[in-house]
């Protein structure tokens, strides 16, 4: 029983990590807490749904559409709105992205209606001994790991990735070194949104799709980056897996009813005891 729950927790956790990495990236580079992260994920899920519905496109193949599409949407949002609040007090950034979030959810409601949709693809599971591995969750987990790794490699080795990390470490110094900070901000927002979109595509196969599906991922991502240390990218990975496990474990040993409470109590504890996150976060 425990084994099965650990499996479920890790499968869910890998996905949380990937989605939270997007949020963490945006926060790290711009110091903007993007409340509209979840709704961007929702748009990714709808992209997959419609491609599946209209063209019968394999939902996993639709990653090559949903990620670039939301990358563009993210850059657009940054260019039009978020850019204006980068240096404003935190409350302004929260309010702005909260506004974007409400607008996106309502636009989706208008365009797609509040009907539940689903992508019935790969239901069922691989049964190995006493354990069941949900097919869609295993594949989502695999994709999440690959995409997260790719993002890490990109950040570590490429020139652009290094520029992004430089901006997130010190904007002034980066600027002095000749990095176009405005462009990096836009790209980071785009990449963050693309990661949310990847999350949307992957969960589209697992849960019902509706305009309000995203918000819960915004909160989960907050939890993950606080657990892992805001601005600490490997921390997001650890935080995601941890959150997945905590949720499942508390459902198993306590009741499903309070698993969210457990996760948030933990959040408060981490903030009190180790405000920099479990791995050492970037001092700000």
């Amino acid at each position: 029983m425990l084994g099965q729950v650990v499996i479920s927790g890790l499968l869910a956790g890998a996905l949380y990590s990937m989605v939270a990495l997007g949020l963490g990236l945006i926060f790290g580079v711009m110091r903007v807490l993007n409340v509209s992260h979840g709704p961007l994920l929702m748009l990714g899920a709808y992209t997959t749904f419609w491609l599946f519905q209209w063209l019968g496109l394999n939902p996993y193949v639709s990653l090559v559409v949903s990620m670039p599409l939301l990358f563009m949407v993210g850059m657009g949002l940054q260019r039009l709105f978020v850019r204006r609040v980068v240096d404003a007090p935190e409350l302004s950034t929260l309010l702005l992205t909260f506004g974007i979030s409400i607008a996106l959810v309502n636009l989706a409601q208008l365009a797609f209606t509040a009907d539940l949709r689903s992508v019935e693809f790969l239901t069922g599971s691989f049964v190995v001994g006493p354990f069941a591995f949900s097919k869609s969750r295993v594949i989502a987990c695999a994709f999440a790991i690959v995409i997260t790794m790719a993002a890490f490699v990109f950040l570590k080795t490429t020139r652009l990735g290094k520029a992004i990390r430089a901006v997130s470490q010190s904007r002034e110094v980066a600027q002095v070194c000749g990095i176009d900070v405005g462009r990096i901000h836009m790209l980071a927002f785009g990449i963050g949104s693309a990661l949310a979109a990847a999350g949307g595509t992957l969960v589209a196969v697992m849960v019902a799709i509706q305009p309000e599906m995203g918000q819960v991922y915004t909160f989960k991502s907050f939890l993950v980056i606080v657990l892992g240390g805001a601005g600490n990218y490997p921390g997001a990975l650890l935080g995601g897996l941890l959150l997945g496990l905590i949720e499942q474990m508390s459902s198993l040993f306590l009741t499903t009813q309070i698993n969210e409470a457990v996760a948030y109590v933990l959040l408060v504890l981490v903030l009190l005891v180790r405000p920099t996150g479990l791995l050492k976060g970037r001092a700000s």
Binding site: G124, E212, V216
Partner: protein, 392 residues
């Protein structure tokens, strides 16, 4: 000067309130309601709204009510009790509607019942199934559907008749599913079934893995889930993913609406659902209702639509008999009324608590909703037992 002004204003006000009588007689009767058109209850809430609309069309086609056209004023409460409370206040005090009808779900009905009582408005509540709402000494609230407690009576009965011994019961942690679970547990115990697991989960929960793992470990013969819709779909899917194989599996709400099968496709096969109504049931006015509904909305109604429709007809009938919109006169008629609509029977006790309507159990068979219980209304036999997922 000021005297002149005052008398002018007075004259205007007087003229306004007396008004030309015929114009007043022709003003439509406005019936207000808030419904969950978005949020968790969007699906059933929308069906209910459509039911109200079909009823209004039907009344208007027959010359309206008390010679006046019937018009619904409906808002979206976003499945939120707070929003619904605000909307009913607004409907009654700002929009000045002539009457109100109930919202969707027991929780929201409970939260607005105080408001309709406060303003002495009759509240026929077609989609509130929790007994406690009607047992608080409220005067103006009326129940239309069968209470939550008996939703799975048929499920427990079928299981007991087949000699099954153990049951797991799970529910969303809100008013209706809780009452439904309490009733199911009671009925199960009475029939000698052993409760091997009982647990609730929060509203909006999407991941049921750990809960289902626990259920799997408890290995019950049957699983009963007191659900709304999203959770019914999610639990069924995840049962397949985690290879959970009870001999029978039933959900209370959500399992009976067409979208359940559209979303789950063949994974929805063998699932039992409880329903207040099915279009195959031989009730009077059924054909007319189905015809009008499918013509207007291009899809089939669920029981929510039928209950909304019937609730509105019941209210209208009481108004006709009272020959007035006065809440106390209409209330007296509603208490006396015995009526059979396309939705089934209506009669209430002195609390406005439903006493005549009957629940049925359906099972999804080859994409069709087959009524399998009770025997006298059934149009098919249950496919029993539910085969394990890997043998389908």
């Amino acid at each position: 000067m000021s005297i002149l002004l005052w008398s002018l204003a007075g004259a205007l006000a007087l003229g306004w309130s007396l008004g030309p009588a015929p114009a007043h007689a022709q003003a439509p009767i406005k019936i207000g309601a808030s419904l969950s058109l978005t949020g968790t209850y969007a699906k059933p809430g929308t069906y209910q709204k459509e039911g109200y609309e079909v009823c209004a069309d039907e009344l208007n086609a027959k010359g309206g009510l008390l010679g006046r056209k019937v018009e619904f004023v409906m808002y979206d409460d976003q499945s939120s009790t707070q929003t619904a409370q605000r909307l009913y206040e607004k409907l009654i005090t700002e929009d000045k509607v002539d009457a109100v009808m109930g919202p969707y779900s027991s929780g929201i009905t409970e939260s607005v019942a105080g408001i309709s009582e406060k303003y002495k408005k009759v509240l026929v509540s077609p989609l509130a199934a929790t007994t406690s709402i009607f047992r608080q000494g409220r005067k103006y609230i009326f129940m239309v559907i069968s209470p939550a407690e008996v939703y799975l009576e048929g499920f427990v009965d079928m299981a007991a008749k087949r000699g099954l011994k153990t049951i797991a019961v799970v529910n969303e942690d809100t008013l209706f599913p809780k009452a439904s679970t309490a009733g199911t547990v009671e009925l199960a115990k009475k029939r000698g079934l052993q409760i091997v697991l009982q647990e609730s989960y929060p509203k909006g929960n999407t991941d049921f893995s750990a809960l289902l793992v626990k259920i799997k470990a408890a290995n019950p013969d049957i699983i009963a889930a007191a659900t709304y819709f999203d959770d019914a779909v999610a639990i069924t899917r995840q049962m397949r993913e985690l290879n959970v194989n009870p001999k029978m599996f039933a959900v209370t709400v959500g399992g009976d609406i067409p979208e359940f099968y559209t979303l789950l496709k063949t994974n929805g096969e063998y699932v039992y659902g409880a329903t207040q109504w099915d279009e195959a049931l031989p009730y009077p006015g059924q054909k007319e209702f189905l015809g009008a509904y499918t013509k207007k909305f291009k899809h089939e109604p669920s029981y929510h639509a039928a209950a909304g429709y019937a609730g509105c007809l019941i209210y209208a009938e009481a108004v006709k008999r009272a020959k007035s919109l006065d809440a106390d006169l209409v209330r007296t008629e509603l208490l006396k009324l015995k009526m059979r609509t396309a939705f089934g029977d209506y009669a209430v006790d002195q609390d406005g608590f439903q006493t005549a309507h009957k629940m049925v159990m359906i099972q999804w068979q080859d994409g069709k909703r087959i009524v399998v219980w009770p025997d006298d209304l059934a149009n098919g036999k249950p496919r029993f037992p539910t085969p394990p997922w890997n043998q389908r």
